[in-house]
Amino acid sequence: MITLLPDVTRAAKIPRTLHVPFFLGRPCGEPFDFDTRRNVVRQLLDLAEQPIETMLVYQVDQTKRLVNGGVSVGS
C-alpha cells in the first residue's frame, strides 16, 4: 500500500507500505510525470516480494528499507 501517513498505516498494521513524499490527492506523483508513476508502481511490486511489516521509503534512485525500526539500504 502507498502511504502518505505512515503513522496511520503503522497503527492499522498494513502488511507492507511504501511511504511516498507526495501530496494528498497525488499519491503516485504529479500529473503527467509518468517516469515517477512507473517508479512508484515498480517499487510497489518490489514491496510485494518483501516480508510482512516492511516499510519502503520511496526514493528516486534507490530504495531504503525500514524493517522493524532498523534501516538497511535495499538494492
Binding site: 492499522a12 494528498l24 490527492g25 497525488r26 503527467f32 512508484v40 510482512i52
Partner: protein, 173 residues
C-alpha cells in the same frame, strides 16, 4: 434544505482540504485518532514469481468508470459501495468522485491515484503475469469506517480470492 446540505458538504470539503495542506501535523494526528488500531499484522506472502502473478489495483480515492454512478459523498455515514474497473479500461473511461482531497489533479491525470495504465504496460511487457479484471475503486472519505471494515473489505477479499489475485496494490486519495 437540499441547498443547505450541499453548502454544508461544500464547506466541509474545503475545510478538510485546507486543513490537510496548511496544518499537516494536526491533520495527521486527527486521522490517527480516527484509525482503528490493530494488534497483529495479517500473514500474506507470495508463492510464485512476479511474472506469474495476477495483480489487482485497489484505491480509496473514489475512482470509477464514467458509466458507473458516482459515489455518494454528501453523507456523514460514508458510501461503502465498490466500483469494478476492468483490466482494459482506458484512462478516458475513468472518473473520480471524492470531496476530501482536491480532485482536480486526478481529473487531469487519473494515474496519480490509479496507475492502471502503468500496470497495463507491465502486463504487456510480461513483468507481471496478468492484470486482474477486478480492479476496485472505493470512497474512503468517511470517519465511519465500520461498514468498510465489516462489509466492503471482506467482500473484496473474497472476490479477489475467487478471481485468483496474487497481489493487490492499494493507493489512497
Amino acid at each position: 434544505m437540499r441547498l443547505l446540505r450541499k453548502l454544508y458538504f461544500f464547506l466541509r470539503s474545503k475545510i478538510a482540504i485546507a486543513w490537510s495542506k496548511l496544518l499537516p501535523a494536526s491533520y495527521n494526528k486527527f486521522t490517527l485518532s480516527n484509525t482503528k488500531k490493530h494488534t497483529y499484522t495479517p500473514e500474506a506472502g507470495l508463492t510464485k514469481p512476479l511474472n506469474e502473478c495476477r495483480v489487482a489495483l485497489i484505491t480509496s480515492a473514489g475512482v470509477h468508470l464514467k458509466t458507473d454512478p458516482p459515489f455518494h459523498v454528501e453523507t456523514l455515514e460514508g458510501d461503502p459501495s465498490i466500483r469494478i474497473i476492468p483490466a482494459d479500461a482506458a484512462v478516458e473511461d475513468l472518473s473520480v468522485t471524492h470531496i476530501y482531497y482536491d480532485t482536480k489533479h486526478a481529473k487531469a491525470d487519473i494515474s496519480i491515484v490509479f496507475p492502471l495504465e502503468q500496470l497495463q504496460e507491465l502486463a504487456t511487457a510480461g513483468t507481471i503475469g496478468s492484470l486482474s479484471n477486478l480492479n476496485i475503486g472505493v470512497n474512503g472519505g468517511t470517519l465511519n469506517h465500520t461498514p468498510h471494515e465489516v462489509e466492503t473489505a471482506p467482500m473484496v477479499a473474497r472476490m479477489m480470492k475467487e478471481e485468483g489475485v496474487d497481489i493487490a496494490l492499494l493507493t489512497p486519495g
